[in-house]
Symmetry: C2
Subunit: 347 residues, 2 copies
Amino acid sequence: MESDDGEVVSNKQVIFKDYVPGILQESDMYITNSTIKLKVPSDTKAVLVKNLYLSCDPYMRIRMRSLQGSYFAPFNPGSPITGRGVAKVVDSSHPDFKKGDLVYGMTGWEEYSLIAATESLFKIHDKDVPLSYYLGILGMPGLTAYAGFYEICSPKKGEYVFVSAASGAVGQLVGQFAKLLGCYVVGSAGSKDKVDLLKNKFGFDDAFNYKEEPDLNAALRRYFPEGIDIYFENVGGKMLDAVLLNMRVHGRISVCGMISQYNLEQPEGVHNLMLLVMKRIRMEGFMVADYTHLYSKYLEMVLPLIKEEKIVYVEDTAQGIESGPSALIGLFAGRNIGKQVVAVASE
Amino acid sequence: MESDDGEVVSNKQVIFKDYVPGILQESDMYITNSTIKLKVPSDTKAVLVKNLYLSCDPYMRIRMRSLQGSYFAPFNPGSPITGRGVAKVVDSSHPDFKKGDLVYGMTGWEEYSLIAATESLFKIHDKDVPLSYYLGILGMPGLTAYAGFYEICSPKKGEYVFVSAASGAVGQLVGQFAKLLGCYVVGSAGSKDKVDLLKNKFGFDDAFNYKEEPDLNAALRRYFPEGIDIYFENVGGKMLDAVLLNMRVHGRISVCGMISQYNLEQPEGVHNLMLLVMKRIRMEGFMVADYTHLYSKYLEMVLPLIKEEKIVYVEDTAQGIESGPSALIGLFAGRNIGKQVVAVASE
């Protein structure tokens, strides 16, 4: 009786419990066993997918706060977490998608998702790269690095570029883009392994472990005796204050995120903003959502670079949907090395 | 015997005592009686001037700190304060200036100054405006308002503009420029008289006394229910934090100064910078020194506006060089109403 109408299968989900003002913990999420019929209901225009990879991204932490007027709609307590994923279409009543298509876009943290908001779904055409790349270098973090660096930083060959959270999903790409342009690039990260990665795998000119620098200002002075032209800001707080002290005149700071602040009830104060005046610095926040029109141009640039191995991309893959909460939390402790994804199922 | 070589006259000076990390006080300066020969020494290419008006500007406070690597060279303890002034040439060995010329530029806080660094001196040609205007609307503060508003803020007709320290030397002009462009303009200031001035003399759409607003965020929400497109930042600290909460998407903040911070040993922390990302805000510091090439264009625009009374300018004039220290200190307590000048002598 279920053969035509879709099999009913079990569907593990990661449920978001409730808003968290302070430090996010695994217990703020839980795994539940639900069921789902593998067929789009007849009265709905939607796509039913099997999730293959889920993305852990810092902005998701912001959706776990009850922020009024935030750009990111807060998650619904009691519902599965939502985020970007790579998935395979199981059933579809939408003309643009058919069974067997590989797609990426907004999905749920569960084994199968019924996606009605199909406007965020893209069909994957180029399959000779790892599928999970569509959550990283070929997806939102890649376009974030591209737009944030080329559009916001106005970079020029020979300039001094500093990237924080430099081994992360976005940072590793910003550093490599800057190197390809002929900039001098230094990155900061939170462990020796990550620093090694920056120097030896991503080709940064230098890198340091910020946890081993009691005086960030002194560290930056050491790595940038001439000062910093471009700061790609991923962390905020004390690092931003130290960077401001080391910026050059007419420097640019592109503000991508401030991950050091997301688990704080009250963000740290930044004290050195008067240096924006003294050094005539432009500091600009941006969101990748404003740059989707550049996506195909970005793919044209980056796909050949990947295939020619002129750009590499490092991922940290957690296995199984049950590992999702721990993987997400790990972002804010810096446990991930490279882009954090969760492998839910194989094709 | 002195007739050919220049009379020796008494020359009152305002001496800067020593660097001040905290609150600047009158006792950090003192008046001394010196003498000066009213002739440029024969081996020097310089201009000897009688100072008519001296300018009190917030940036001078920064020169009273021993800041390493600051854009502004610190003052020399034990020497007269230096700053912009309007003066009359008494003697000159420089071909561009002759006795009787009226000039403005960098001079000393004293009755007569021997100026060797003549590159900062400009000859005053248009004399049918008050001479003191060359320290305000026709000088550095005027060009600051012009460049900071038109070049940094990218203003458009109909946008919502907020100006802090709005009755000050720069703020009163920014508000008037914004009104001329067709923006909706609200200003903040620190007294009822200033608020009246903003609304009734400068034509701001609205204005408020920040000292009477226990919750700046609520105040801004009241005056800008639709949010702020452009913030012309003159004060820093808590006001900046409140403004960030009220900015619109793709807003712009031009950072001209942060006068609320100059008397603090440690600047206040600004906590809401993550909103730069959420709202994709561009925040840019600038200094008028980068825009001197626009000065003649600015004069072409502003001189007719002054003469047609489409722009007004309010000054606060302290009488006599002895009043200099108190006038300068008054800036940081907000005692001045309009541009603070010190009238030293008449022509």
